[in-house]
Symmetry: C2
Amino acid sequence: MSQLESTAQPLSDAERARFLTALGAILAGESLLHDAEELRPYECDGLSAYRTLPLAVALPATLEQLQATLKICHQMQIPVVARGAGTGLSGGALPHSEGLLLSLAKFNQILEIDQANLSARVQPGVRNLAISEAVAHLDLYYAPDPSSQIACSIGGNVAENSGGVHCLKYGLTLHNVMEVNIVTIEGELITLGGASLDSPGYDLLAAIVGSEGLLGIIVEVRVKLIPKPATIQVLLAAFNQLNDAGSAVAAIIAAGIIPAGLELMDKLSLQAAEDFVHAGYPTDAAAILLCELDGAEAEVGQQVEEVRQLLQMHGANEVRLARDEQERQQFWKGRKAAFPAVGRLAPDYYCMDGTIPRSRLSEVLEKMAQLSEQYQLPVANVFHAGDGNLHPLILYDANNDGELEKAEQFGGDILELCVAVGGTITGEHGVGIEKINQMCVQFNNLELLQFHALKAAFDPSGLLNPGKAVPTLHRCAEFGAMHVHHGELPFPDLPRF
Amino acid sequence: MSQLESTAQPLSDAERARFLTALGAILAGESLLHDAEELRPYECDGLSAYRTLPLAVALPATLEQLQATLKICHQMQIPVVARGAGTGLSGGALPHSEGLLLSLAKFNQILEIDQANLSARVQPGVRNLAISEAVAHLDLYYAPDPSSQIACSIGGNVAENSGGVHCLKYGLTLHNVMEVNIVTIEGELITLGGASLDSPGYDLLAAIVGSEGLLGIIVEVRVKLIPKPATIQVLLAAFNQLNDAGSAVAAIIAAGIIPAGLELMDKLSLQAAEDFVHAGYPTDAAAILLCELDGAEAEVGQQVEEVRQLLQMHGANEVRLARDEQERQQFWKGRKAAFPAVGRLAPDYYCMDGTIPRSRLSEVLEKMAQLSEQYQLPVANVFHAGDGNLHPLILYDANNDGELEKAEQFGGDILELCVAVGGTITGEHGVGIEKINQMCVQFNNLELLQFHALKAAFDPSGLLNPGKAVPTLHRCAEFGAMHVHHGELPFPDLPRF
């Protein structure tokens, strides 16, 4: 079986010139960049610890230009990395040094708003928030809301299967798209999914969502629109024990209530957020929960009371209901500013993204505290508690010798811990280049080979985003040899699934 | 590209004997059937117009037996057709005359109920309703409810991505499973999906759901459990015009209300149902709608009033709220008995299953009435109106020369009509053998080749359920030559998507 890792050899000057000439015949002036200075803005995405200059950047404006560009790359066997807004946090849009960076920035039109069928057709470069803005007058919106939603593009959201605060109730990107058009590396246009509930044949739409640019280039997306809820309320609960906050989360879900958002912040992160934006958080608390409830007025009123009781039963020493929309926004302001706020506590931080079964929450938090001791690096926890999606922020100083490496190793341990309790190494940020080694912990060789077979079905020569998302068996063998050298699995004391 | 249709040659007597001997070494006595009389109960599934006796029936009881059985089939290149409860309506479990029928009936254990994570691990042969029964004491249930839910198995539900009355609100099988273990034709065990919200790597779980036994044998399923709603109410609305019922459906959805069920029955079907089970339906109506609302008490009360107003605004001349649980069950009894009730109107009926965008509902109903005139065959309509999933029942008499063929052609036209308005040829019953020709209308050659590539990634020699679900290009060429012989697409007067 082919390993599908990049096998691209450095191009000779003549080949490079021939490649640029061929592209130049399709893409006019500013749609094709190849000077180092022009390439610089594209050298990284949101995971800025990794940087590479691509061979060139293409910014096609039409489907025909895009198809012709891919055909040239396919013919000359040049790797292609697609890029939306470049806000990804796992390095999925990191350029390939011998490849083309394909920007979808000019595919930025909303093509159709279909009110009757509650959907919209949009180009991949349309910003996430722009969709909701375009349908606000119809009292509709697009539900997934990554924290980068002002900037991030819907094409990137599809590629990474992005989530957000509200995906507990409204699902990930996967659950909010109906149809995706892709262009294959051979330049062929294919439609996956459809405008209806079910689609016959294999569900390749789902395979594309979250495939991180490895299977095809997304050129059009039909998203679901949903009616804005009539009422939105937020409760803020303060706890003296982090564990109590964890069991309150479990109790709310077990009571059959699915909040629109259910977020947990630990002491370090809530204090940092309060210092930064003055959200009104109780800074003496060990943890706070933010619980948003939305829906019909009568329903929300009833749920607010139920949740309030559950919070109090599980040890909350203070429960506040935002009195008005302004205070609601204020409560969320702290949560939304948590990452930059924690960033002020140390020269550098490393944001992790893993998911665990809700029932293992307190166990994992305890183990993480032990690891923090062991590595002598503080960790702040801000996370989507309702769906078990952790975002530990590891604080370090890259100027101290070896601290970056220590932080990365700590992060890797956290991801392996997630896998050990039956969770996964990503919740919403994707694998990219960042977590490719941990894929070897998550999946066995047979499962990885199955991924490779799917990859080969779409992109047999492995030109699309090589080296990302799905590791080769060779890479896993090396990684495994390094980490399991005494034949021991990580965290041998924890029960397995 | 390989066409992946069955290329199995008839076995010689010696080969057949060798195959049965090899299986016999694994499967004791009654776990291996090969006498014609024993094979008879397996000759068809719910699509009983098609019947074939398999070479043999295997009923393994353990994972090891199942893996060994598949390894033998792979080694000897014997086709394998998996079978759950055999209630499928599209012929997905129709045996292969030169193949093994693999029954999952002995894989019938509920392995784990995980209340904290709202999930259960079950074997594929567990009946759909048995899951809800097993967790009823926890006030939980498994949401998808095909009308065959007393009998159908969860493995079959996963293979067909089954729906039901409540999938408008709660989703299809795809949206209610978290993890599936399969055994490949090579006998390897693979886990797809996981216990957490997101899973890295390509979403092969979604590819398995609805793959109709073509990619692997399902041996374990982790399903989602959801809390039982506190309150359930049903409204019955009667209309003088079928069209009005259609626009009431659109109005309810546009108002942001997602009913638990929203079902439409036309005159022919509601009269048949009333005659059969005396559900209390108004038999002078042109159509009735059943609208079920569930959730918190306050929410349901508010929604009942909103829906009542919308129904009246859109021409309902009578709206009744079921007064108690007994009347609610009575209202549903008629809907659930609609198929057998319609069956009493003619010697034979042909149940179709297609999906269309809600906004095209009245147009499609009108066109269907024209087709009914043209073919001189009555059609009764009972359908999941909320999600655009049609179930036209074509009435005919197979004893009249050529009427079966006319009914099949009428059915084919209905499916092509669904595609023409931007819908699909299946809502919840799958493609199987029944709708394989219409797949050629739904998908172009490139899209079919993409399906074949995925198939090849799982089952390169095409041994799993050959001839079902995804047609070869050769078959489509033949079908296309037959149906598009003047170069015209079907229904040229309708706008395209």
